[in-house]
């Protein structure tokens, strides 16, 4: 018999290194004598979209198109340390460093433009497409190339704030910021074969502010899929320290047919210390998937599983124990 059930799980996640450890990102922003905008950070693109997010922030601040920005991010000899692409920290930490650097660069450019255009004040100066102009009299304008004799380079550092915890009581402020999530799932359990099918998911994900909703949704889909594997499929079968299933035909991860359609809801509540209010979400998106599935399985068949993954053999053995 096939039985359906629904379940929910809510989670939180503190991003960054945490516990008072210096969590530092450094960024360099420059405009060279040809007017090119170059950003030097070593934020690794592992697929999560770090490059895109960083360029979006720069483009926003400097009024540029995405293609106007040259990002140098793949070489230690050309970049400063931006910390690891982990702990869901690149958007927040490196984003903050980049934003600081680019904002300083922008103010330097405006200062230069003010002098160049012989204006008495910075008021009303706008930057767009590598041109600085006066909003109320757009003919008063100068492009980056004509403004700069020698390249302007700005280096900025961002360090996150956390408090080391007391060793005996754990009291402190171990992370900042925190990101919140809540997922609901519906499953169908075949009580004769023990097979669990996840048929629907609703995912509400706090992001602070979405820099790129497309990328966030992609993270939710991917996190859910990995959480689904964690809950009902994946286990390294270690016997006396030896991994017995060290290949993809033996270590099963979800295929396209195992993933349900998801309704993805981006919840925005900007964080004041974050660049544009954006918090890290790379890890938060996996957390509620597996526990929501476990709660849905209980709702479907009235059996609680205390050990994951809940594979068909476990389901059958529990159902038949109940009888």
């Amino acid at each position: 018999m096939k039985k359906r059930g629904k379940g929910i799980a809510a989670t939180f996640y503190g991003t960054g290194y945490g516990n008072g450890f210096p969590d530092v990102s450094k960024a360099v922003a420059e405009v060279d004598h040809d007017g090119n905008v170059n950003i030097y950070v070593c934020a690794t693109e592992v697929g999560q979209g770090a490059k895109t997010i960083i360029i979006q922030m720069v483009a926003e601040i400097l009024g540029l198109g995405m293609n106007d920005i040259h990002l140098i991010s793949e070489d230690t000899s050309q970049t400063l340390d931006t910390g690891t692409a982990a702990a869901s920290r690149q958007t927040y930490n490196t984003g903050n460093a980049v934003k600081k650097a680019v904002e300083v660069l922008k103010s330097k450019l405006l200062e230069k433009a003010k002098e160049h255009l012989k204006l008495p004040s910075l008021l009303g100066l706008e930057v767009k497409d590598k041109v600085i102009y006066l909003k109320t009299f757009p003919k008063k304008r100068v492009c980056f190339k004509d403004l700069i004799e020698e390249k302007i380079s700005v280096e900025e550092t961002f360090t996150a704030q956390t408090v080391q915890m007391d060793e005996e009581t754990g009291q402190g402020a171990p992370y900042w910021p925190y990101t919140f999530s809540c997922y609901g799932v519906e499953v169908e359990v075949d009580t004769e074969t023990g097979i669990i099918e996840v048929i629907k998911g609703v995912c509400a994900q706090d992001v602070g502010r979405a820099i790129n909703p497309e990328l966030i949704e992609g993270q939710i889909d991917g996190g859910f899929s990995m959480g689904l594997g964690y809950g009902i499929m994946e286990k390294l079968n270690c016997k006396d320290g030896e991994i017995k299933n060290n290949k993809f035909s033996k270590y099963l991860i979800p295929t396209a047919l195992d993933m349900p359609e998801l309704e993805k809801i981006i919840v925005e509540d900007p964080e004041s210390s974050a660049p544009f209010g954006a918090k890290g979400i790379g890890e938060p998106v996996i957390l509620p998937a597996a526990p929501a599935i476990l709660n849905a399985i209980y709702d479907a068949i009235g059996v609680r599983f205390y050990e994951i993954p809940v594979t068909p053999d476990k389901v059958l053995s529990e159902i038949n124990r109940e009888i």
Binding site: S249, P312, D313
Partner: protein
């Protein structure tokens, strides 16, 4: 170590090579399992002969009484055959459940049989259809019932100088049908943990003939004669499926004694068997329905 690769142009050429050099030759058809074995140095022969391009082995012929499928026929070609899709549903479903589109596009039915794997998807329906294997060598041919082809785990009764040429079974008529059910641990790229195929022939609402075959429940796919005997000549309405499934479970439990999968498989077979049985009955009745409408 393979030190020679051969692409024969005809079956005859292939048989010549086998006759003179058979013990050193490993045949490769779709290669979906063999290439992995080659990489892992599990093949001790030194000549690799590719039979996947031999057109003479790639055919599906349907005559008045029989269906013959060439051993080099790819799963995709079986899946795309309209007659098999409509009438030999169990075989169609089994071929469709093989690995992934990529595997089905390369893998052949002959390779699936000759590999001797306990979990070969296409074999249970062929066993339930009581198929015959046609085996050829230089100046010789023989036919062996498929159920007698398996000698041991991974070992089939085909000599070094022979090739499996084709597989043959009778056409299904009114009131006949074949079903297939499989339990895999995910929805694609799944090796069968259990599979079950049932051929049924109904007459006046009783079971005139039934053949049940299972996969992944022993050294190789096999017929379940005990259960068949319990069902043959019984009125469909009088059969208590639950009891039969229970009996099936006991058989499986006995057969898998000492295996870690025993408790799971002996329970799960009940559901898989019941599903296969129900869809076989339904299929047999659907067929009659269709011919009535004609």
């Amino acid at each position: 170590m393979i030190n020679k690769c051969i692409n024969p142009k005809t079956v005859e050429e292939a048989l010549d090579i086998l006759e003179s050099n058979g013990k050193d030759v490993k045949l490769i058809a779709g290669g979906t399992d063999l290439v992995i074995d080659l990489r892992n140095n599990k093949i001790d022969k030194n000549i690799l002969m590719n039979i996947s391009k031999l057109k003479e082995l790639r055919f599906i012929t349907i005559d008045e009484n029989e269906i013959t499928i060439g051993s080099g026929t790819k799963f995709i070609e079986i899946i795309e055959n309209q007659h098999i899709k409509e009438k030999i549903v169990g075989l169609w479903k089994a071929c469709k459940s093989v690995g992934s589109p990529q595997i089905r596009n390369m893998g052949t039915i002959g390779g699936n049989i000759c590999n001797g794997s306990m979990a070969a998807d296409s074999v249970p329906p062929l066993l339930a259809l009581d198929a015959t294997a046609l085996i050829i060598g230089k100046n010789k041919t023989r036919s062996v019932p498929l159920r007698e082809l398996y000698l041991d785990k991974g070992k089939v009764d085909i000599a070094d100088d022979e090739i499996l040429y084709a597989i043959k079974f009778h056409r299904l008529r009114e009131k006949e049908s074949i079903s297939f059910e499989k339990l895999g641990l995910r929805k694609a790229l799944a090796i069968a943990r259990i599979s079950c195929s049932i051929y049924i022939n109904l007459e006046n609402n009783s079971i005139k003939d039934i053949k049940i075959a299972t996969g992944a429940l022993g050294k190789y796919p096999q017929r379940e004669n005990h259960i068949e005997k319990r069902l043959v000549n019984k009125k469909v309405d009088e059969i208590i499926l639950k009891d039969i499934a229970e009996e099936m479970s006991k058989h499986v439990s006995k057969r898998l004694k000492g295996r870690s999968s025993r408790s799971f498989k002996s329970i799960a077979i009940k559901g898989i068997f019941a599903e296969a049985y129900k869809s076989a009955i339904k299929g047999a009745n659907d067929e009659s329905h269709k011919s009535h409408n004609k």
